[in-house]
């Protein structure tokens, strides 16, 4: 029975994995609008909004930084990712295989899976903060990196075990449940923030801005936190999904779109989840800080419970769980692509174990902003490779999809671009002290120059010329 379910599920996942999506399966823009709004109002939003407050973002910087950053993210989806997706209509993995070769795609999958594990781990930790409320367990502080109590570890292990078990057995049901929960979750975010505004002294709309500046986004970071400026907010909003838009992971999504313009429907996710939900969760955290006199304790569960009661706590559990669950499943699939003969449920179980172990460490939640930025940065060079391979190489008289053309298992131009770009980013970070949030932009240009240069060098070599001819 279980094996039947699993094989059915895998069959559905493998639909059009190695062929272009046929015209009969294309979807209109409305499907993408709902999907993006739902996917980007998730467990991470309960952490990111409060972390902006903790990092001392000012009200003006936050409102305008998010506005412009999210707009740039939408443009990146609409102008970079979606046009290639609808022309090629194949998955990211298949496209990578054509350009980079099988072996490099395996490495990409492995890195991706590891990133998914940590992301899912942070969401298990978020859900655990809500599950722990009735047990009155001590919550982690903003400065904590290691687990602080035995009871915390037990709660995380229980939440992790349940999440992994469900990821192993019932992805379809969870996905359906997440779709049902999405509109409700968006409203809970809004309602919880509106309901607590009077506690901050906002009794009419005109009170909001002065209170926002003096009590919510005060511009003063909490103890031990770095200061966030307008540029931090803008670049974070733009690059927190860098792996998906500039990194081209959403080629797999938009290959189903009737028109490239569907890329702009990502605005649904950006301006509902990454704008209103971040603002709302920031307001909830400001109320918590006021009540606790700037306590460094950081736990989305109790914060939401204070503002919206049982509904708030359940919302945190559902948000964390519905984000962690598919993420564990995706990580499992990425690893399964590396070891094709392995059983999906075994791989998912191992991934769940790694994820749950990682979730015990509060560092994953407290440093979520850095982690999300790192996630985007690490996968970004491959997006630049796809972009240049698709648009620029043919115009320069160079071959696109080199691995497919030559039958090679690794395209060293792509591998070199990936490694050297990250090396340059690391150098800029260490030598010039530029923070991780800002590295994506220069990194993309470095990747572009490297990929063109390395292709010239490789494709013009004597051996390669013979092979290509």
């Amino acid at each position: 029975m279980i094996l039947n379910k699993l094989s059915k599920r895998l069959e559905s996942v493998q639909e059009f994995e190695r062929e272009p999506v046929p015209a009969s399966k294309l979807k209109g823009w409305r499907s993408f609008l709902g999907m993006y709004a739902g996917e980007h109002t998730a467990g991470t939003e309960f952490v990111i909004g409060p972390l902006f407050v903790a990092h001392g973002a000012s009200a003006g910087d936050l409102i305008f930084g998010l506005l412009i950053g999210n707009l740039l993210a939408v443009l990146s989806w609409g102008l970079l990712c979606a046009p290639i997706a609808v022309k090629e209509r194949i998955t990211l993995y298949y496209k990578l295989e054509k350009i980079c070769g099988k072996n490099l795609t395996v490495v990409y999958n492995l890195v991706n899976a590891l990133m998914f594990c940590f992301l899912a781990g942070s969401m298990i930790a978020v859900a655990a903060t809500a599950v722990g409320i009735p047990f009155n367990i001590p919550m982690a502080r903003l400065t904590d990196l290691l687990p602080g109590s035995f009871s915390w570890v037990i709660i995380v292990l229980v939440v992790g075990a349940v999440t992994t078990l469900i990821a192993t057995l019932g992805y379809d049901q969870v996905s359906r449940f997440a779709n049902i929960a999405a509109p409700w979750m968006i409203l809970v975010f809004l309602a919880a923030a509106i309901g607590v505004l009077p506690e901050l002294g906002v009794n009419s709309i005109t009170d909001f801005w002065p209170v926002a500046e003096s009590k919510i986004w005060t511009g003063v970071p909490l103890e031990g936190q770095s200061k966030f400026t307008f540029w931090h907010i803008l670049f974070f909003a733009w690059f927190c999904n860098m792996a998906m838009h500039i990194g081209m992971a959403d080629l797999s999504i938009f290959r189903y779109a009737k028109s490239w313009k569907a890329g702009f429907t990502s605005a649904g996710g950006m301006f509902v989840g990454h704008y209103f939900a971040w603002i709302a969760s920031g307001i909830l955290y400001a109320v918590f800080l006021q009540q606790s006199q700037n306590s460094l304790e950081f736990a989305p569960g109790p914060i939401a419970y204070y503002a919206a009661g049982i509904t708030g706590a359940i919302c945190v559990i559902i948000a964390g769980w519905t984000t962690a669950n598919p993420t564990i499943y995706r990580a499992g699939l990425a690893i399964q692509a590396i070891i094709p003969n392995s059983k999906t449920w075994k791989v998912t179980l191992i991934v769940g174990l790694i994820t749950t172990t990682a979730a015990c460490f509060p560092a994953l939640v407290m440093r979520l902003l850095d982690f999300v930025a790192l996630y985007g940065l690490v996968l970004m060079p491959m997006g630049a490779v796809i972009f240049i391979d698709f648009y620029v190489l043919p115009k320069l008289g160079l071959k696109s999809n080199l691995a497919e053309v030559t039958g090679r298992k690794i395209n060293w131009a792509a591998a070199g671009t990936w490694i050297l770009t990250l090396g340059v980013c690391l150098f800029i970070n260490f030598y010039f002290g530029i923070e991780i949030f800002f590295l994506g932009l220069p990194g993309w240009f470095v990747a572009v120059i490297l990929y063109i240069g390395l292709n010239y060098a490789i494709q013009s070599s004597k051996n390669q010329k013979t092979e290509l001819s």
Binding site: R176, N179, W184, L187, V188, I194, G195, P198, T311
Partner: protein, 57 residues
């Protein structure tokens, strides 16, 4: 008929999730009442939406 009733109840669920917070903001109900109404809204939404949003066969 059954679907119409479910749609009305689901809409009521979402309304009970959002509107009470606005009433709390305007001072017409207290935050405790808001929390209770949100809870009722949640129960209404999940008990009806799962039937309404069934995948088409």
């Amino acid at each position: 008929m059954k679907r119409t009733l479910l749609s009305i109840l689901a809409a009521a669920g979402l309304t009970l999730t959002l509107i009470p917070s606005i009433l709390t903001f305007t001072g017409q109900i207290d935050i405790q009442m808001n929390k209770w109404l949100m809870l009722i809204g949640m129960i209404l939404w999940f008990s009806t939406a799962s039937f309404l949003l069934k995948p088409k066969k």
